[in-house]
Amino acid sequence: MRRVHDLLRHPRAARVLSWVGFVASWQLVVPLLPTELVPTPSEVAVFMWNELRMETVAPHTVYESFSLSFQRLGVGLFLAFAIGVPLGLLMGLRRRAEWFLHDFVVVGLAMPSLVWALVTGMWFGFGDLAPVMTVTLAAVTFVVINVAEGVRNVPKDLLDMSGAYGVSRYATIRHVIFPSLMPFFFAALRYGLANAWKGLVLAEVWASTEGAGWVIKFWYDAHRSQGIVGYALFFIIVAIFIERIVFGRLSGWVFRWRPSDSRQAPEPTVADPDKSAPAAVPGRQ
């Protein structure tokens, strides 16, 4: 009896308990609700299993939809970096450029991705262009602000020292500027990606006829809430995969020159340019 008590007090037990309790109560409470639009966990599980086996009522399988969305995301993010890095460098190096652009970058940061999705939908119509432009617009300001901050944070004394020791220009960029910019690139990629992904889904809902976001809309119109919840779980799985595996590996590799206890990508410092209170910034919004 004593051992059971001790076992239950362990945090791991709490975790297991919360999962079991949540799923069980969800499964038991739903049939009692007056509406039939809330799915039970078993319905969601069956739906997801069928989707993974490519048995679906929707016009595209889950693999096709997600790979299409990822292609759009990739192209949009590439454009965002191509535009954002030069602008960020300019803003970090020249104060006048910063004064010139600052307010617009802040507006871009604060703009809900919903607005981008709807505006690009009206501008470019149904197709690939609206989602791609949404991704670019939603991510570019995060790139600009982080690169600018990174340039300002390049350690001055290291630059002076490499100047004094006659290190070549290329080597300075490669070994001093580049490594100190890296955390900010990561921050840009992370925040930009999170914001862009949300924007992409919204753009696909309103301004596209395929892609992961559109399939969610399809299930909504079909009044199948297990479809929405199932796709939400796919989204979360993909997000966790990107966060843990891709970012974790990548930052481990990029920051391999650091002492091994700080190889994870450091927390980005400038998600919010005028932060005035200590913040616990959640990784994703």
Binding site: A14, S18, L114, L118, V119, G121, Y220, F235, I236
Partner: protein, 271 residues
């Protein structure tokens, strides 16, 4: 008291003023440039209805304000946010306190808090839309579900930052739980509460408009959808600009004032 410190050398002062002036000049130049670019695009490059000239958008804004539509719809959205955020705040603080002070509850709840943080807002908006149908309930529930986790995460950080020796000392001097909460926890938590408010509030805005786009019968999001469906880009942009002005006003003026007032005991804020 310190006359020597006060008398600054004149050249530095002049230089600073010059810098200040040039800063404003470049800033204004930025605005002029972008508005000019917009005007140029709309008059020479593309059709008027795709990129409406700034004057048309301004006229549209004036129309919205003059007819009083702005109050109706902003009122509706604000009510959704106020009700939803108030509930989310209480819920999030309670969960945060629980998670910050007990390892067991942290393990119990953290997965679910993380899950609501990672789920795209669209999902909550659609599911609540399906369950609650047209009306204001769906958006309110969507606001609660998405923003409570922001409050909880920040409160947890805050509770963990409370110095252990202060609580130990308070306990050693026989203060009771309520006094400790009020005089030790609360002052330390205040900045975290403000961060939570800022993040939570910006999320609440976004999710409220999103939910209104889907099921609203009034509100900013509802108007955005209407303009989207009517293909009125000028109207849409007018609502977006109004939305921005309002959000900026609330955050910069109202929230930051409050923050400075509550945090006035901190040297870095008072100074």
């Amino acid at each position: 008291m310190y006359p020597k410190l006060r008398a600054r050398p004149a050249p530095a002062d002049a230089r600073r003023r010059a810098e200040h002036r040039s800063r404003w000049l470049w800033r204004v130049a930025g605005y002029v440039f972008f508005i000019g670019l917009w005007q140029f695009t709309s008059s020479f490059l593309v059709a008027d209805f795709i990129v409406p000239p700034p004057a048309v958008i301004l006229a549209e804004i004036w129309d919205i304000v003059a007819t009083g539509q702005v109050w109706v719809h902003f009122g509706a959205t604000l009510r959704t946010i106020a009700v939803g955020f108030a509930i989310a705040y209480v819920l999030g603080s309670a969960i945060g306190l629980l998670m910050g002070r007990s390892k067991w509850w942290e393990a119990f709840l953290s997965d679910w808090v993380m899950a609501t943080l990672t789920t795209p807002g669209l999902i909550f908006a659609l599911v609540t839309a399906m369950i609650f149908g047209l009306g204001a309930t769906g958006p309110i529930v969507a606001v609660i579900v998405t923003s409570f986790s922001y409050v909880a995460v920040n409160v947890v950080e805050g509770v963990k930052a409370v110095p252990r020796d202060l609580t130990d000392m308070a306990r050693a001097f026989g203060r009771n739980q309520v006094q400790i909460l009020r005089h030790v926890y609360l002052p330390f938590l205040a900045p975290y509460f403000f961060t939570a408010t800022r993040y939570g509030f910006s999320i609440a805005w976004k999710i409220a408009t999103l939910a209104e786009v889907i099921v609203g019968t009034a509100g900013i999001g509802f108007m955005m959808r209407q303009k989207f469906q009517q293909f009125s880009i000028a109207g849409f942009l007018a609502w977006v600009l109004l939305f921005f002005a309002f959000a900026l006003f609330l955050e910069r003026v109202v929230l930051q004032r409050q923050m400075r007032h509550v945090l006035r005991w901190r040297p870095e804020v008072a100074g």
